[in-house]
């Protein structure tokens, strides 16, 4: 006699996985912290290395690209640094997220736990890294607050409205708090990215390689070390094309919704809509994958 055999593939089980995963927040919270502590276990200054390496990278590249693009480094350096910090989070969710189940093979095969726990562990770890990196932002804010809070500042340092000045930005104000909902939205996206790409990558081990080789390209395609302002200020004959084309890079919008408020720039509604749309579509795909292949992951790892 088989009393209403519970099917492996059901929405109920997929949602139960997510619900149970969130309920185990002590578990993934602890694991996420453990990951950070573990990475710097025997180093003297520990997780402070996260902050230092971010600071050094942002400073070096900020100076370099400020010179290359002929920008004012007082406003360009914070722009590059914040771009880096946000990119670091997105990149971490993508590259570590897609390998989350592969990396947790031992635990998955030895202890019954919802898959969502491992996804949340990854996103939480990235959040902690981001928190460390925000120290760099705070320092830059103290140093360059005057330049960033000036109304109608430009990244080029030229007076707003003059030839080749590029965009005029409203300057830093209370609008900076919009970075908080922006981060929450990006983190929510981190959840589906980890679940969906995690499941796909566990089954098809070529996918991590493909994504890894693409992230470097995506980094340069996305305005992080360069600014969209440069496109608008420049005089290259093809710049009209470029202005439109970079908008098709979804990662630009992800970076922009969080970075812009933090450096006193304006976010277009297009960016919020694109990110909002991707959130809905992404979670729908991730839920579908979770429903159909959740039970297969322990077979595939």
């Amino acid at each position: 006699m088989v009393p209403d055999a519970p099917s492996t593939r059901s929405w109920g089980r997929a949602f139960a996985d997510i619900r149970q995963g969130f309920a185990d927040r002590e578990l993934w919270g602890h694991l996420g912290w453990q990951d950070i502590k573990q990475r710097y276990r025997r180093s003297v200054i520990g997780p402070l290395w996260i902050t230092i390496s971010m600071g050094v990278t942002a400073l070096g590249l900020g100076l370099l690209y400020a010179v290359i693009f002929n920008n004012d480094f007082a406003t360009f350096l914070p722009y590059v640094a914040v771009g880096f910090i946000v990119w670091g989070f997105i990149n971490g969710c993508l590259t570590e997220g897609m390998e989350t189940f592969i990396a947790n093979e031992g635990l998955i095969k030895h202890l019954p736990a919802p898959l969502t726990v491992y996804a949340l562990r990854t996103v939480w770890r990235q959040t902690l890294m981001l928190a460390h990196n925000l120290v760099v932002y705070v320092i830059l804010l103290i140093v360059f607050y005057g330049d960033l809070s000036k109304p109608a500042y430009t990244l080029s340092g030229k007076l707003c409205g003059t030839e080749g000045a590029g965009f005029c930005h409203p300057g830093l104000g209370w609008g900076a708090l919009m970075a908080i909902p922006a981060f929450v939205l990006i983190a929510i996206n981190g959840g589906w990215v980890t679940l969906l790409f995690g499941i796909i990558s566990t089954r098809f081990r070529d996918i991590p390689q493909v994504i890894n080789s693409l992230t470097q390209l995506l980094f340069y395609m996305t305005p992080i070390v360069w600014s969209a302002d440069t496109l608008f200020a420049g005089t290259h004959p093809n710049r009209d094309w470029a202005k439109v084309l970079f908008q098709f890079n979804p990662l630009y919008h992800f970076v922009q919704i969080m970075r812009a408020p933090m450096v006193g720039q304006q976010v277009s509604m297009v960016s919020w809509s694109v990110v909002g749309g991707i959130t809905v579509v992404g979670w729908a795909l991730a839920l579908g994958a979770l429903r159909n292949y959740r039970a297969r992951v322990s077979y595939w790892v």
């Binding site: 088989v2 055999a5 998955i108 095969k109 202890l111 019954p112 736990a113 322990s298 595939w300």
Partner: protein
Amino acid sequence: MVSIDVWNASVDFPIFDAKTRSLKKLVLGKVGGKIGTEGKVPIIEALNDITLSLKEGDRVGLVGHNGAGKSTLLRLLAGIYEPTRGSARIDGKVAPVFDLGVGMDPEISGIENIMIRGLFLGMTRKQMEKRVDDIAEFTELGDYLQMPLRTYSTGMRVRLALGIVTSIDPEILILDEGIGAVDAAFMEKARDRLSDLVRRSGLLVFANHSDEFLAEFCDTAIWMDEGHIKAQGNLREVVTAYKGRDPFENFSQETLRRIGQSPALSTNGGDHA
């Protein structure tokens, strides 16, 4: 109500990185599950058409050759593998102890491993902090608990794993073979704790090759062979059928008295499924 029900469950592993050609030869082998090669991806049929029903109070021993499907069955019962065909329902808080090297992080200390294992088994941090002293005392690991797990011997890992699962009152306890790695003195100590736990927690499934361990903890047994249940029933009968001799004959009077068995077996063979 603590129970495990499995209906016509099969577990098939896809092996993505195996070459079908070389595996064909293995089909002739006697060890391991049957290897199916119809599809593009070779499949190992680790478990085939398993139906069983375990309820509160059951103490089941699992016997069978290497590769007969014991560990896979334990993983199925623990809810780690969901059946590829058929279905399974597990009611109760499961605490599994598998291969003891894996599933614990060798780089972090024993204490931290206790915490993580406890959280995985559904405890809160506070509850685990309260139990750390108890685990430290039971395992006799003392200051070693501060050391990274990679410095532990196999026996010490078993102690740690047993210390954790026996301290958290699970409803379903699932133990794989590794347990044998501890010394006799510790096993004596673990025996009381385990039998106490089994009395309280309801359900034990235990895979082991040692007659003594099986006799000590289990009253029924399942004989796994090539991925299906060959026999199931009274421990003594099943083990006698499996080994071809009565394992209890060699036990000392003292052991027999403790487990409440008579020296001679009246019936022969298990009830074959």
